[in-house]
Structures are given as C-alpha cells and as structure tokens.
C-alpha cells in the first residue's frame, strides 16, 4: 500500500468536501502521519451534525528492541561487566530511562556517548534480557497521534465521539447529538469498503 493512496473527503456539497480535504491534509502533515496512513476516507454531513472517518494504516511498524539499536556483549567476566554499544542513537533516551529505573543511575556507566556499561550477577541471563528489552513502540505513539488527528479534524462542537482501533483499521465517528448505531455502522462500512480496494 502506498502512503495516502486513497484520500477522499465527502460532504453534502462537493466544494465543501474539497475545502475540508485541505484541512485534513494540513493536519496529517502537521502530525507527520503521511507515511503511516495508507487509505483514508472522511464523510461530513453538516445537516446531521455528523463526521465519519475511516483510516487503513500501512503495515504495522515493529517494536524496537535493544538488539535493533546496538549490540549487547559481556566484556569482562571477572568484574561481571556487560557493554551495550549503540549504533542507532534515536531511542537512546528511552533506553537510558528504562535502565536507570532498573539499575539505578549509578549502576549504568556511560563513558562515552554510545557506550553503556552495567554490572550483573547472572551474566548470560542478563544479556539475554537486555537484548530483548523493548525500548520503543512506534505503534503506541501512532495511536495517540491518530486520536489527536481525529480530534483536530472533527468540527469542534462534535463532542460525542466513537472510535475503534482494530489492528490497522481506525474507525471514528463524531456528532454533537446522540450517536446513532447506524452512523457507527456507516463508519465501519466505509472502513470495509476501503479494505476491499486491496
């Protein structure tokens, strides 16, 4: 799926749909979601005070483990030292935060930017644990950014909201009145329709 291969905004009056598309496009750019969204369809019916949106995300991004960002090796068996050599610095702050929480600030030495040294009793077990330690989950921040996008894209008064996130399908409905079941169904149908394009 290409980024934003389908991008449709429908409204009762077609020109107003086009105007709204530019708003949605600006918000997608602002939240850097362009690469994550594969297909998106928005339907706005002002006369019903209704806003519906369905998004198909492009394949889920994998979690980042320590082994993805560097290597973990035992460097001194006598003093029981483990060295983490970082290759990708991007997630270093998150990694440090987790290590500090577990070993304490004094337990993690950082002689230079890309080297972390720890001491542990059970070396092999600890190395294995560290290699598989999950440092960041892009999926999680993606979800919060998606929700943010939905809130920003909806007309402000539409505060009665429904959303569901099922794997890579995000469905959103908002209104200012009581949310009808058929509207949620309509949003789900839009999502199904988008998936069928595959």
């Amino acid at each position: 799926m290409e980024p934003l291969e389908t991008f449709i905004v429908e409204s009762t009056v077609p020109e107003e749909g086009d105007a709204y598309k530019s708003i949605v496009a600006d918000i997608i750019t602002e939240l850097v979601l362009g690469g994550a969204i594969g297909r998106i369809k928005v339907r706005v019916r002002p006369e019903d005070s209704l806003f519906l949106m369905a998004i198909i995300l492009r394949g889920s991004q994998p979690t980042v483990k320590v082994s993805d960002m560097g290597s973990v090796d035992v460097t001194n068996h006598i003093t029981k030292e483990i060295t983490i050599s970082i290759e990708q610095e991007k997630y270093l702050p998150q990694l440090l935060e987790q290590l500090w929480a577990k070993y304490g600030r004094t337990g993690v030495r950082q002689p230079e930017r890309k080297t972390l040294i720890l001491t542990a009793e059970n070396l092999d077990e600890e190395v294995e644990y560290l290699r598989n330690l999950v440092v960041a989950d892009p999926q999680k921040t993606l979800q919060s950014r998606l929700v943010e996008m939905a809130i920003r894209a909806t007309p402000e008064g539409f505060r009665v909201r429904y959303h569901s996130m099922d794997k890579h399908v995000f469905v959103f409905a908002a209104t200012e009145d009581i949310l009808k079941k058929e509207w949620i169904q309509e949003a789900q149908d839009i999502a199904t329709e988008l998936q069928e394009d595959e």
């Binding site: 107003e16 530019s22 708003i23 920003r152 007309p155 402000e156």
Partner: protein, 312 residues
C-alpha cells in the same frame, strides 16, 4: 469649521521620522499610533485634507511610504467561535491582520461556547463586549448549512454592524440572518492564508469593511459628534500624562464615535470626565464615560451635536 481629516499610514525609517510628526502637529493633524519596530516605524495619523501633499513630499524625502488607511480610527472586533485550534489562529488572525493593514485597531474575541451547531451559544457579557466596538467581523467555517441555519444565533444581540466571513462562495448576505454582509472564501483553514485565492478573498473582505465604515462615517456626518475622538485623545495626552506609562500598543484606542482609554477605571475615570477643553467645557458634558467590559478600561462614547447643542 474644522478641517476635514484624512486617514493615512506612513511606513519608513526611524531616522528623522520626528520631522513627520512635527509637521503633522504644525498642520493640525493627529498622530494616532506610533509603532517602532527595529529600524522601521509605522505612523498611523489623521492629516488635514489640503495638507496631505506636504506630508507626502516630506515622506518621499525620507524614503518612506505614505498610504491611505481608510479604517484608521476604528476599533474592530474579530470574533471566533472559540479559542481552540479549530478556529484559531488561522483565518481569524489573518482577517485581523488585514483589518490592521487598513489602519484599524483590532481585538480578537474568542467566545466561550460558540462551537458546534445546536450547542453554540454566546454570553451576555460577550455580546456587550462586542457591542463596545465599531463593528464585528465573525469568522465562521466551511459549511454553508452551518452558516445559514445554525451560526446566525451568535449574531443575535449584537447591535453593531456584523460582517460574516465564511468558506462557501455561493452564500448570499440575505441568507445569513442578522448579518449586514457576508464575504466568502475565508473559511476554516489549518495553515496561514497565503495562497493567491485566499489573499484576494481577504482583500475583498477589507474592501467591503471599508465600504461599511464609509457608510457609518456618512451617517455620523449627518449629525456630527460633539467633539472629534482624536481631539479627546490629544487632550488626554496633555492632561493625563500617566497614559504614557501604559504598555499597550494603543493606550488610547479611537473608535468612530468614541474612544477606549486603557487606564484603570476606578483610579482615572474622574480625571477623564473632567478633561477640560479650550471652549470651557468638560468631557463629561459631551460624552458618556463608563467602565469598559474589556479589562478595567475606560470607555468614552461621545454624544451627538443634536443632543449636546454645541460642538467643541
């Protein structure tokens, strides 16, 4: 008879700009606002009609630019349904920017509960605050249905001329209940308005607002004010020196039929009421002085000649 004053904005270097202000004073014009920005200065002023060419010549010598600013001496409220990122800063602030280019002083007003269709409301306090201005520009959204059927209730209770800016181009003024004018092409956007189409819509809006203001000035001329607001401003500058300690960009803001003095009401209202004029009258004889709903300011609304019986 008092000279006819023409509104102009001068933009030029700060070096020797006092020559302009001195000449203006000699000619009997009024400096309304001075905004220095680094090496540039913007002077908003009222110049007697016959003497405009003198200022223009001097301005040319100083390599500055003199432009007519038809909205000078007006205070315009730019009203947005709420303060949320959905409505601000884009489009509403661009509207305010264009009004200021016309010489107006603008105030942005974000309603507390103006969002939505069925649920949108305006508060009594907000309506009174808007009514303190010369006119109000309402910045609405993209959908014709909302602008025609739901949003006009925000215009209710606003007695000053109401200009509605919205997205759709095919809405007519008569379809927006209560609006004095509708201008399209300025709907909700999530970026700064800078594309040619957007900018020309803002130009159209400015043009229309100028028309409305000219009409208001004409109406005012039929039964003129007892004293010109710029003259009151001059007297305030001379008799209440504390005004120079006010940090606001426009310590005295002119309106078509009055002015807003940005000094605390309780402390200063008596001195404003007792402002003396050469003719031997006080301001309180010619104007109604009340506490403004904006902060703790003083609002002066000047009475008409027919009511007072003389002009100062």
């Amino acid at each position: 008879m008092a000279a006819v004053l023409e509104p102009y904005i001068y933009v030029g270097g700060i070096h020797q700009h006092t020559l302009i202000t001195e000449l203006l004073e000699d000619l009997g014009g009024y400096l309304i606002q001075k905004v220095p920005a680094a090496t540039e200065v913007t002077l908003v002023m009222l110049i007697p009609r016959e003497d405009v060419h003198l200022i223009e010549e001097l301005g040319k010598k100083l390599l500055g630019k003199l432009e007519r600013a038809p909205l000078t001496g007006t205070e315009i409220a730019v009203v947005s349904p709420t303060l949320a990122s959905h409505h601000l800063p884009h489009s509403a602030c661009d509207v305010a920017e264009f009004m200021r280019r016309g010489g107006a002083n603008t105030n942005m007003i974000g309603l507390a509960r103006g969002m939505g269709r069925r649920v949108s409301l305006s508060d009594n306090y907000e309506r009174k605050l808007i009514n303190e201005h010369d006119l109000a520009v309402f910045s609405f959204g993209t959908f014709a249905d909302c602008i025609k059927n739901k949003k006009p209730k925000l215009l209710e209770g606003v007695t000053v001329p109401k200009i509605v800016a919205g997205g759709p181009l095919n809405v007519k003024t008569e379809e927006v209940a209560g609006a004095d004018l509708y201008v399209g092409g300025i709907g909700r956007v999530a970026h700064r308005m800078r594309k040619p189409g957007e900018l020309s819509s803002l130009d159209v809006l400015l043009e229309k607002v100028v028309e409305v203001v000219e009409k208001m000035r004409e109406d005012l001329a039929k039964d003129p004010l007892a004293v010109l607001p710029p003259r009151v401003m001059k007297e305030i500058h001379e008799q209440i020196p504390e005004i120079f300690d006010v940090f606001s960009p426009a310590p005295v803001t002119l309106q078509l039929d009055g002015l807003r003095v940005k000094l605390p009401y309780d402390e200063f209202h008596e001195r404003v009421e007792n402002l003396e004029f050469d003719e031997g009258v006080r301001l309180s004889d010619m104007a109604v002085i009340t506490k403004s709903r904006m902060k703790n300011y003083i609002l002066v609304k000047i009475k008409r000649e027919s009511e007072v019986g003389f002009t100062a």
